[in-house]
């Protein structure tokens, strides 16, 4: 794929990372914050796959990193949703501002 330089794919993943960052900063709902985290993880995956394809096409290391990141992201999302649902049961809200019981 030499038609598109590697930089363009990295620009794309950078833009996606900062879109996720923006969501993480502005949203106060835990589920939407989790979605932003997923966007950030995906931008990292794009980087790994692109580096694998362009810089080290003789190896598969980037692909394995992406696979492991996807597996960890799935586990993380499941645990996060279990925590969110448990929190919702206790305080009837999924707003991060509402969960201030342990705030000093």
């Amino acid at each position: 794929m030499p038609v598109i330089p590697l930089h363009y794919i990295l620009f794309l993943s950078t833009a996606l990372f900062f879109i996720g960052m923006y969501g993480l900063f502005t949203r106060r709902n835990m589920i939407t914050m989790l979605m932003s985290v997923e966007l950030i993880l995906n931008s990292v995956n794009i980087n790994f796959v692109a580096f694998n394809k362009y810089l080290y096409p003789e190896n598969l290391e980037g692909l394995f990193f992406s696979l492991f990141i996807i597996a960890i992201a799935a586990a993380e999302a499941a645990v996060a949703i279990a925590i969110i649902i448990n929190l919702y049961r206790n305080i009837r809200s999924v707003d991060v501002e509402a969960a201030d019981d342990m705030k000093f």
């Binding site: 038609v3 939407t32 979605m35 003789e58 499941a78």
Partner: protein, 174 residues
């Protein structure tokens, strides 16, 4: 060759627009659907790069698993038709500023960096699943058997943790 370029631009515009909508739309259910489109677009990007296996994993795990999980949790925790409260204006401006500065800074750094080209001949255009599986369970120098086992233990721990967390304790039940 031009066609491949056009496909890349369409895919990246699709990913960025749907990703941006996912973090800015005010209805939480629409946000989840935009996230679904964004993840599908990323799977398309992997297809474009020729990484068929990772694209399939992306669709199965993210689109089929995580987004469905998120939609279920939306149904369990709130009214999906209701608008989210608007974000505080000062926080929106400040975070947009921080994000723009970060993006520009990273892009400048990227532009000034040149990557060394690979010296080795590439693998076949489409990596076979057989090669991935062999290396994933290989115990020799470049094998990934140990991380594979660690991930399986992590997944088991996460599974048990989810059950324990989401289970209603006896004293809570009324």
């Amino acid at each position: 060759m031009i066609g491949s370029e056009v496909v890349f631009y369409i895919l990246s515009a699709f990913i960025l627009v749907t990703g941006g909508l996912a973090v800015t739309t005010r209805k939480i259910f629409r946000s989840a659907i935009w996230l679904l489109f964004c993840l599908t677009g990323i799977a398309g990007l992997y297809f474009w790069l020729g990484m068929l296996f990772i694209a399939a994993v992306q669709i199965v795990v993210y689109v089929g698993g995580i987004v469905v999980l998120i939609i279920f949790s939306i149904f369990l925790t709130q009214q999906s038709g209701k608008d989210l409260p608007p974000p505080v204006r000062s926080r929106t401006i400040l975070s947009a500023l921080a994000v723009c500065i970060g993006f520009v800074l990273t892009c400048i750094l990227l532009r000034n960096h040149t990557f060394g080209a690979s010296l080795h001949p590439p693998l076949a255009d489409h990596i076979s699943v057989e090669a991935i599986g062999t290396q994933l369970l290989d115990t020799s120098e470049h094998g990934y058997a140990l991380p594979f086992e660690v991930i399986s233990i992590l997944l088991l721990a996460a599974l048990i943790a989810c059950i324990v967390l989401a289970k209603r304790s006896k004293s809570e039940e009324k």
